[in-house]
Symmetry: C2
Subunit: 240 residues, 2 copies
Amino acid sequence: MESSHRNLTQQVVHELGKSIFQGTYKVGDSLPSEAELCTRFNISRTATREAVKMLTAKGLIGSRPRQGIKVLDSKHWNLFDVDVLDWILIGKPDLYMLRSFQQLRLAIEAEAAFLAAQYAQPEDIKAIEDALVRMKDATNGEDDTHEADIDFHQSILSASQNPFFIQLKNFITTALKVNLRFTNRLKAVTLEEYQAHVDIFDNIKAKDSQAAFDGAMVTQRATLALINEQIQQFESKGDS
Amino acid sequence: MESSHRNLTQQVVHELGKSIFQGTYKVGDSLPSEAELCTRFNISRTATREAVKMLTAKGLIGSRPRQGIKVLDSKHWNLFDVDVLDWILIGKPDLYMLRSFQQLRLAIEAEAAFLAAQYAQPEDIKAIEDALVRMKDATNGEDDTHEADIDFHQSILSASQNPFFIQLKNFITTALKVNLRFTNRLKAVTLEEYQAHVDIFDNIKAKDSQAAFDGAMVTQRATLALINEQIQQFESKGDS
DNA sequence: ACAATAGTATTTATAATACAAATAAAAAAA
DNA sequence: TTTTTTTATTTGTATTATAAATACTATTGT
């Protein structure tokens, strides 16, 4: 039995949300009617309707009398919602989705580094440094590389002191997880990658915002280039 | 009577959402209990609960038995939700909020221009150009400057072909509106500003992504610098 | 045959009531 | 004082009933 710590309504929200991103219900499709959802999940109309309302609030579906419940066009989806990002991940994103993540990551993380260099407080610097230490330890197998990596990027966003960048922690975290799916290296980050992180940190600590920006940008563009190569490879294979 | 085209639940969502961003209920505060909300809005528990669930889905509030309904910490708020952005605007954002908007705008719009140069389809180019024409007309008072400006920025985001950038249209639109609040120029954009837009468009059309990026970045950094000046002025005035 | 109209059926929207579950606060016991 | 038990309050879920919206059907008139 999964996620029984959540209440009924939230479980249904999760199930339906997953279904949408797994393609069970596509854009424009009708979901089962309230009545049918009740019987299918064996719950009351109250719980069903509340679940529907929550998905409505996240921009995934819309409901009108007689017309039923329909999946809205994806332009309405709140892609930066924590739950939605979870469902994207569960829905097994493809290479194109990975690229979309990386394209926005690049934009956000470079400027976040810039702002961190300007506005980071001592405790922010410490948080970044801590994550960095754990990354180094991880290269020796002493810690989880991936978690430390996530913490590193998250603490830079925090250091920006900007609520919008901070809210994008969810997005960046999911982006890193998607990335991991494709690169699926069994072990630590390379020393080269680690050094790039250190360089960015040094520039943030030194309050050299432009250097921090440039450093992050170079790293991110490199990652994006790799993804584009993979896509090109994939597409030429498909053409033959 | 306002917003009577929406159904009851959504009206309550709007009222409560507004209240939170207007400071009626602050982070950590309890909202009135379900029972009290029912009497206050003169609606059934059904409608009340559905409204609460929608705000919960947007990350604004949380509810637990006996503890009641509380405003969550702002780090949980879905700041990129259309409704939330509306409420931010209604809540009369200050200079610091304006800066936060601008900081993220800068990151997004520069890279969006970069991607637009790479991936824009003919119809995207046309949409950008159309907006540009309407902006020029607006300098002669023939059209609404602000709307044309919004369309210009939105169509660049569309041209990126990236769902995440496209979802950020709401954010950019709100950012532009917040900006307008502070600069509150009665009339058109200056010719200088207009020319900057044209330059970016030309580079996108010429598929020179780096130039498009640089052009957008310069413009955005200039805007940010202006805001920072205003903040500095404001802060020095407050110190005296 | 076609168009406008009226009627019907289906689905969501709202209301009202009842009870269950969680939990904070108070009372009792150790 | 500390722990346990009880109690009261609030949200969570279920059920039933009715209203409102609207797609579909039948009817009517031309």
